[in-house]
């Protein structure tokens, strides 16, 4: 099977460790992710102003590119790209007046009415592969590893684009279980990581991130997994600040969910680009005995 793939700018710069592990894992599972030939920024944040159509141009243009390449589905890895593209897609599908305005403005492009379906990588696994088949494909079960799967804000909100039941999402839990790991009790799985406050109001961001890490720690998690580069920035790259500002907290390994997928599938750890994670990420996996099954 082949599917259109929208990477997003961050996956090509700061979050290369989210991307390659995903592409290689899918290849191992028999799905080829074909990157769109042309694409631009997704818009990053969906504008909440009802009449702010100019911010819909970027995601709509990406969806047009997917349609022009005759893809009926486009998959994303980054939670924020997913959110922005899926919401823009919904608007293009459902709001006839705004759709006309946008299509008229982008007269150099083909008209678009939401023909492409935007899905997140977790949906791709659940709907195209299935948990049982994934379980069968696991070569290095993550036995003994207790994981806190973190949705953040953008995978389940607003409810009309949620990747799973918005009130009781289980998709990430099923993913963790399929890999053979244990799910930690994690009250803050859908709490905010601090988001862009890390730029304008770092104290607020550190306090939000602290709550997430504290919750994972309380649930006995060995590590936290996520799918959003901004969450990763606040919870991982800036974790030293969070931990030093909160005496009760301890360092917590953070991984992109695709990295642990690749490890569980027995792929070469090289594809995970662990050098972009916290310095001790690889050592942590080694200590847990999870790199033994890696293809030599």
């Amino acid at each position: 099977m082949r599917i259109g793939y929208y990477p997003g700018c961050t996956l090509k710069t700061k979050a290369k460790n989210l991307e390659q592990a995903a592409i290689e894992s899918m290849k191992a599972l028999g799905i080829e992710m074909l990157e769109l030939e042309r694409w631009n920024c997704c818009g990053a944040v969906y504008s909440l102003a009802d009449d702010d159509l100019i911010h819909i141009l970027a995601p709509a243009r990406d969806l047009i590119r997917a349609k022009d390449q005759a893809f009926d589905k486009v998959v994303t890895l980054c939670s924020m790209c997913y959110n922005t593209l899926a919401r823009a897609n919904k608007l293009m599908r459902e709001d006839e007046v705004k759709r006309k305005t946008i299509n008229t403005f982008m007269e150099e492009e083909s008209d678009y009415a939401g023909e492409v379906e935007v899905i997140h990588f977790l949906n791709l696994i659940r709907d195209e592969i299935g948990w049982d088949k994934l379980k069968d494909a696991v070569k290095v079960p993550l036995t003994g590893l207790k994981l806190a799967p973190y949705y953040g804000c953008t995978l389940t909100r607003p409810n009309e684009i949620a990747i799973d039941d918005p009130l009781n999402p289980t998709i990430f839990l099923q993913f963790v279980e399929a890999l053979g790991a244990e799910v930690a009790d994690f009250d803050s799985a859908e709490k905010c990581c601090g988001s862009y406050n890390m730029v304008s109001n770092p104290e607020a961001a550190v306090s939000a991130a602290a709550e997430v890490i504290r919750s994972a720690e309380k649930g006995g998690a060995d590590a936290l997994i996520l799918s959003c580069p901004l969450c990763e920035y606040n919870l991982s790259r800036k974790q030293a600040n969070v931990v030093s500002a909160n005496e009760d907290l301890h360092p917590l390994p953070v991984f992109y969910f695709t990295q642990l997928l690749a490890i569980a599938l027995g792929l070469d750890p090289e594809v995970c680009k662990f050098e972009l994670n916290q310095p001790d990420a690889l050592a942590f996996l080694e200590e847990k005995g999870l790199l033994k099954g890696a293809v030599a």
Binding site: P7, C9, K12, T13, R38, W39, N40, C41, G43, I54, H55, L57, A58, R61, F105, M106, E108
Partner: protein, 270 residues
């Protein structure tokens, strides 16, 4: 018939028995010969270019022009030296448009995308409206190269922007208020220094020049004597000889096969 390069506008008009058409230059109506470029039409109308004109060959980017046609809301653009006038066009030259250029220390650069972001953080204000691409007289995919920079692909951005002539029209239309063409120039410089593979034959040729391979030819040319441009004695034999050599030189045409070689191959490296 002599070429248009050597004719004045008035001579051209007589030679072709011009059909006159109305154009509006900065709102004022002029009747100009229909066969002229915008630049020549403006000169015909009495304008004298002290800015906004350069090579007159469609390369330097100095003469960016915007115009509109009746009954059409689109902004149209062209280089004044290349675009032929159309009836009823409303036009104006954009000889200069403010566009900040970042200062960076070339010797300290490592050739990373982050350095471009630091020099031009405004590039993240791109909304993908594509107005830049639509206004480019060189058909450069401006929005696409800005997207490539945001994706950290400087090689791709440099190649996509290769035809840019720095006219600056993109910057006039940008909602994000960036000067795309300056950003692209930084990226192309980075590509030249850090990404492009040095071409072997250029190195060989430089070595050949240094080693004195062409000294003999140069000496022969010099031996023809010095030329006094202010002399009123007419063309000397030396100058005639030089001109003859120049006229007879072999040139590779644009359409030749890769296997082309000059008949006289003394200058080729063996």
């Amino acid at each position: 018939m002599c070429s248009s390069d050597t004719m004045t506008a008035e001579e051209t008009v007589k030679a072709v028995e011009a059909v006159m058409i109305p154009v509006y230059i900065m709102g004022k109506k002029y009747m100009v010969p229909e066969s002229l470029t915008i630049m020549k039409a403006m000169e015909y109308a009495g304008y004298k270019f002290v800015r906004g004109a350069g090579c007159r060959g469609g390369v330097c980017g100095a003469c960016g022009t915007v115009y509109r046609l009746p009954g059409d809301y689109h902004i149209r653009v062209g280089l004044a030296c290349q675009t032929v006038v159309e009836p009823e066009m409303y036009l104006a030259q954009i000889p200069f448009y403010p566009a900040n250029r970042a200062t960076y220390n070339w010797d300290e650069l490592k050739g990373e995308a982050e350095e471009v972001y630091a020099a031009y953080p405004e590039l993240f204000r791109c909304l993908a409206c594509n107005a830049c691409t639509k206004v480019c007289p060189m058909d450069v995919p401006v929005m696409e190269y800005i997207a490539a920079i945001k994706q950290g692909d400087l090689d791709k951005a440099a190649q996509l922007s290769f035809d840019c002539i720095q006219c600056g029209l993109c910057a006039t239309r940008c909602m994000g208020e960036m000067a795309q063409y300056h950003i692209a120039q930084m990226v192309r410089r980075i590509r030249g220094k850090f990404i492009a593979v040095p071409s072997e034959h250029v190195g060989k040729q430089v070595d050949a020049i240094k080693s004195g391979y062409y000294d003999k030819t140069m000496e022969e040319l010099k031996a023809l004597g010095t030329v006094d441009p202010f002399s009123d004695k007419g063309e000397s034999d030396e100058i005639k000889k030089l001109k003859q050599l120049y006229k007879e030189r072999e040139m590779e045409s644009h359409a030749v096969e890769d296997s082309w070689k000059p008949e006289n191959d003394y200058a080729l490296l063996k």
